[in-house]
Subunit: 154 residues, 2 copies
């Protein structure tokens, strides 16, 4: 089973996720995991009207999502004023790359407070984000993955 | 006058811009200017099915787009295999930050070949991107700026 996740659902979910976060966390910076978190982090940065949007590379090189070495690179230079930082990705699959990213960021910035936010999470994941909007019960085709492919182009 | 630039136009424009680029350039990596280029770079990375998507921070701190110091930071670590690299932003306004980003990247990677791509450009800009899809004849409200604000939420 595959679920298509479209733009019109996303643009409302951004607001819901932002409200969930800001209820008890006021991030001074956003760190987007590349690539998956990019569109979400872009929208959140504008929703909160902050230019403090950064990125970090996390990739598993292998034949499927669970195999291969996890490479985390391009840890962003954050500012001393960044005490509360939100790390953003689109989904927690296994949780492996998110776990790695959070660990690396905490090592680099031991006095900062990092929280994590995603649109979707699988129940079986080994990592639980601080803010998760929806459960992923099936494979999700995100609009940024499929809307530029063949049949979806109107 | 303001132009609303919506998602349905964007998803087709991504394909048009990608085709314009790949006609004579085969990037092995994409560098997104933060924040503006994030959604476009995300879509291009998936369209070309590459995980080689990176980011760079460029911000003018001042009271409007033309004032203040230009700060370029978090120059990504690229790989020796990255010979042709596409730098992506949503629009060339004055061109100042794009000029600065291209200069910094070329200084860091003197043997790599950088080209630039944007959705929109103002005629009056001091920088001309290698690939520009459309002319910006007015102020543009991008969907990532306005679709999460008040009235746009259906």
């Amino acid at each position: 089973m595959r679920l298509y996740y479209g733009y019109n659902e996303f643009r409302k979910d951004v607001v819901d996720l932002a409200k969930m976060v800001e209820a008890n966390f006021k991030p001074q910076a956003i760190v987007s995991i590349l690539r998956g978190g990019m569109t979400l982090a872009h929208f959140l940065g504008l929703y909160w009207d902050t230019k403090e949007v950064y990125a970090i590379n996390a990739s598993s090189y292998g034949t499927d999502r669970k195999q291969g070495a996890l490479i985390i690179d391009n840890v962003p230079k954050l500012k001393p004023t960044h005490k509360e930082i939100l790390v953003v990705d689109e989904i927690v699959d296994s949780g492996r790359s998110f776990l790695g990213v959070m660990q690396v960021l905490k090592e680099h910035y031991p006095t900062a407070h990092f929280k994590s936010a995603v649109l979707f999470a699988h129940k079986s994941a080994h990592f639980q984000a601080d803010y998760t909007l929806k459960e992923a019960a099936s494979w999700i085709d995100f609009f940024w993955e499929v809307d530029t492919q063949g049949d979806h182009i109107a």
